[in-house]
Amino acid sequence: MASSMPTAPGELASGSILQRIMSGRQENLLLCLAISVFALYPLVDELFDIGRLGSMGSIMIYVLLAMGLNIVVGYAGLLDLGYAAFFAIGAYTMGLLTSPKSFFIKEGYVPEWLQHFWPALAVSWVVAAIFGVLLGAPTLRLRGDYLAIVTLGFGEIVPNFFLNAEKITNGTLGLNPVGKPSTFTIFGHKFAFAPTDQDNWYWLILAICVLSLFMIRRFYNSRLGRTWQAVREDEIAAASMGVNLVRTKLWAFALGASFAGFAGSLSAAYFQYVHPANFEFIVSITILSMVVLGGIGNIYGVIAGALLIGFFDRILTEELTPPLNSLGDALSIDFLANHNLTQDKFLIFGLALVLTMLLRPEGLFPSARRKAEFHPEEDKISEHEQQQMYDIREMDEPAVGERA
């Protein structure tokens, strides 16, 4: 039968490569399309007078955070409950390097060239990564619950440190204002970054998100990315195969933290405000919810999770209230006519998480590997693969008496 004919190894390999190239191209094409749609949003917002650009900027910062946490939790399988600590470190690095209220600036410890947004952004990325390593180092021998507790502790210590070290961090007063990018011109378009220039801020945050996405994808597809997955699946097996556990885990912590540093420094400059209350435990949990809801391990799923939760939290309930009230008026139902859906935010948020975990525990858009773990019954080996395995076994097995 033609269908059961074994395929020549070369043919299979070339077909697979072609398939990969095609699938890679499709992915890139879809990605470019999605980025274009997001890039055009400010124009759509202005055209239809939507007025949600500010929310979209905040949501994109959450996307950045979720992508970073996905490296630690999704790729390397290290449960991190203190991720907001790195967000805080990024924000305070930006604040301490650029705010006129900064202790280091007042004392003249920061060189003038460093007191600007762009160099401070790069420094905050590095500083967060260094703190990622500092946290990662003592946790190398810990797994699961124990690791979670240590990261949780770190997440509590950092905001409290910023709160109590008031001579350096300004304590309860926070840092305000914070440095922002200076105005520049590209193709005749002037990009200014006053708080009212929401479109420019949005594009800046989007550009950093895209850059981060590109970097994270490259990391994931590199040797380092594969070692992360190996460690996540089975540490002992990975170590037996020569994977350096220490280096792999530390890279995961450092790179995961570094993107939180990006997000922190961006948010500090965008909101012109840094305060310890904005980095509490609930922030870590919300970012983790985004990762879990979207689909651990799949960067696009994680982005979808962040967009979904952010969109719901900041936009949807407010936008749905007027139509709900109109419906109530039309149906003469007082409760609907006067109800403000914003007040149900918590109920809906909780229900959505519980239902997702019950009905789709792997998240909305999980990675193929994660999906297979949750649904082993669907993990079918194709007939082709069976045939190939059979053929190989047939070829390798010596005929009876051959050895003799």
């Binding site: 650009l53 500010g54 309860t172 305000n176 965008y270 909101f271 939290d313």
Partner: protein
């Protein structure tokens, strides 16, 4: 039938002795022209709109019309009202709506539309978020029909939104921001560069109708020394901008007035108990403990553990308005007995006792919030009502949908009569010039108004 006096008819109409229909018929008989009848009825309609007694506050003699022929003016408010902030924020919104309805949803010839914007997010347990603060302010700024921005609740949030509304020339009025640095400079309580850094244009556009922390801390310290006869204070705060700010001012004034400050420390709001902390404080021998905190920062437990080692007869407990809530009294239970609290203004019960507009306000807000006859509306909701009155009367006086004109009118508010009957004007910095600090004590488990502390 002898012709009735026209003046008498108008008086009867205004005293509601006759209806509009009767007035029209009898005025026609009396020979009053149709045009004049129309004018008289319009004035009467305007006065009729002022019927709720609470709405008679503000600048005396400010006219009020329900005409909406000039179009629509939009007002936005921005503060959190979900999750942890549901009660405080929700009550303030209800008071704002009530005020608007009392004024017939109109002012200065415009229909007034009001939209409350939530400044909290679920990702922060409903508390305010810098992103939402920025977004809400920009939303108001970019809406050309918006003539004033009400809010915020948190001072940190105002530090973000005030520079934005300032550049846009939009008036902003807060019912609850108490951080001094937003409007003024006060040694020991504000930062270098404040408040100018919040006003990039150099022109003030922000005002608040509640007393700032330094006023409350100051009044509390003077009362503790001169009225309560205390001389050795131990000061604690919850490490928040508000708690620490008010505690620092208390410490400063207490020392200035000749008292001894034994300590001024932050406490951990998430600690399970404070027994060892209170034991060490008791060893220092204070006769008053001042706690700068809000109720959600474990202040009730702090008071309970304090009373475990220090009796109410020996050591006074004094706190700021962040503790002026039933939740605090219920949380501390018996330990709350005898505790003193300062508050910028009058409690709901005090307003009821005073009668007049304040009593009317309390009765109707209780009804709207379904609190029963003795329930306590949030104490800041009074200020939410009053700040809306400031805005509506400014629109009335400006008579035009012009941000600058309305800002000037709001800033120029003089002789404003409050729900409690006190009077204030805005000073050049946007603060009220006659802040009243009320003194409340827990008596038989009830927050009882004792008078004023300043």
């Amino acid at each position: 039938m002898a012709r009735e006096s026209i003046a008498g008819l108008i008086a009867q109409l205004h005293q509601s002795k006759i209806t509009r229909r009767e007035f029209t018929q009898r005025a026609a008989v009396a020979g009053l022209s149709a045009g004049l009848v129309g004018n008289v009825l319009a004035v009467h309609a305007a006065k009729a709109q002022d019927l709720p007694e609470a709405a008679t506050i503000g600048i005396p003699g400010t006219p009020h019309t329900t005409d909406t022929s000039k179009g629509t003016i939009k007002l936005y408010s921005s503060w959190p009202f979900t999750g942890a902030m549901e009660r405080i924020g929700g009550h303030a919104i209800e008071a704002t709506y009530m005020c608007l309805e009392d004024f017939g949803n109109a002012a200065g010839g415009f229909a007034i539309e009001y939209e409350p914007l939530d400044e909290g997010i679920a990702a922060n347990e409903g508390r305010w978020d810098p992103g939402k603060a920025t977004e809400n302010a920009n939303r108001a700024i970019n809406d050309e029909s918006c003539m004033a921005y009400l809010g915020t609740y948190n001072s940190g949030s105002a530090a973000i939104s005030v520079p934005l509304t300032n550049v846009a020339g939009l008036a902003q009025i807060s019912f609850a921001n108490t951080y001094p640095g937003l409007t003024t400079s006060f040694e020991g309580a504000t930062e270098e560069g404040e408040p100018d850094l919040y006003y990039p244009t150099g022109t003030r556009n922000y005002m608040r109708v509640c007393p700032a922390d330094h006023v409350q801390g100051d009044a509390g310290a003077r009362w503790a020394i001169h009225e309560n006869g205390r001389s050795k204070a131990y000061i604690l705060h919850d490490n928040s901008l508000y708690g620490k700010g008010v505690a620092n001012v208390f410490a400063l004034i207490f020392a200035q007035e000749g008292g001894e400050v034994l300590g001024n420390d932050g406490y951990d709001p998430r600690a399970s108990d404070y027994q060892s902390l209170m034991t060490s404080i008791a060893d220092a021998g204070p006769d008053i403990i001042y706690v700068g905190a809000t109720v959600d920062n474990n202040a009730a437990k702090l008071l309970q553990d304090m009373r475990g080692v220090m009796s109410a007869d020996d050591v006074t407990f004094l706190g700021p308005d962040g503790l002026n809530t039933d939740t605090f009294v219920q949380g501390a239970a018996d330990a709350a007995e005898g505790a003193w609290i300062t508050f910028g203004g009058f409690s709901a019960d005090a307003l009821v006792e005073l009668g007049g507009p304040g009593a009317d306000y309390v009765a109707r807000i209780r009804e709207r919030l379904d609190l029963g006859e003795t329930g306590q509306p949030d104490s800041y909701a009074v200020y939410a009502y009053e700040s809306m009155v400031v805005v509506l009367q400014a629109i009335e006086r400006a008579g035009a949908a012009d941000r600058t004109a309305i800002l000037d009118q709001m800033f120029g508010t003089e002789g404003f009569v409050t729900l409690a009957g006190t009077t204030w004007s805005f000073n050049d910095e946007g603060d009220i010039d006659n802040p009243v600090i009320g003194l409340i004590r827990v008596v038989d488990g009830v927050l009882t108004f004792q008078g004023t502390a300043n």
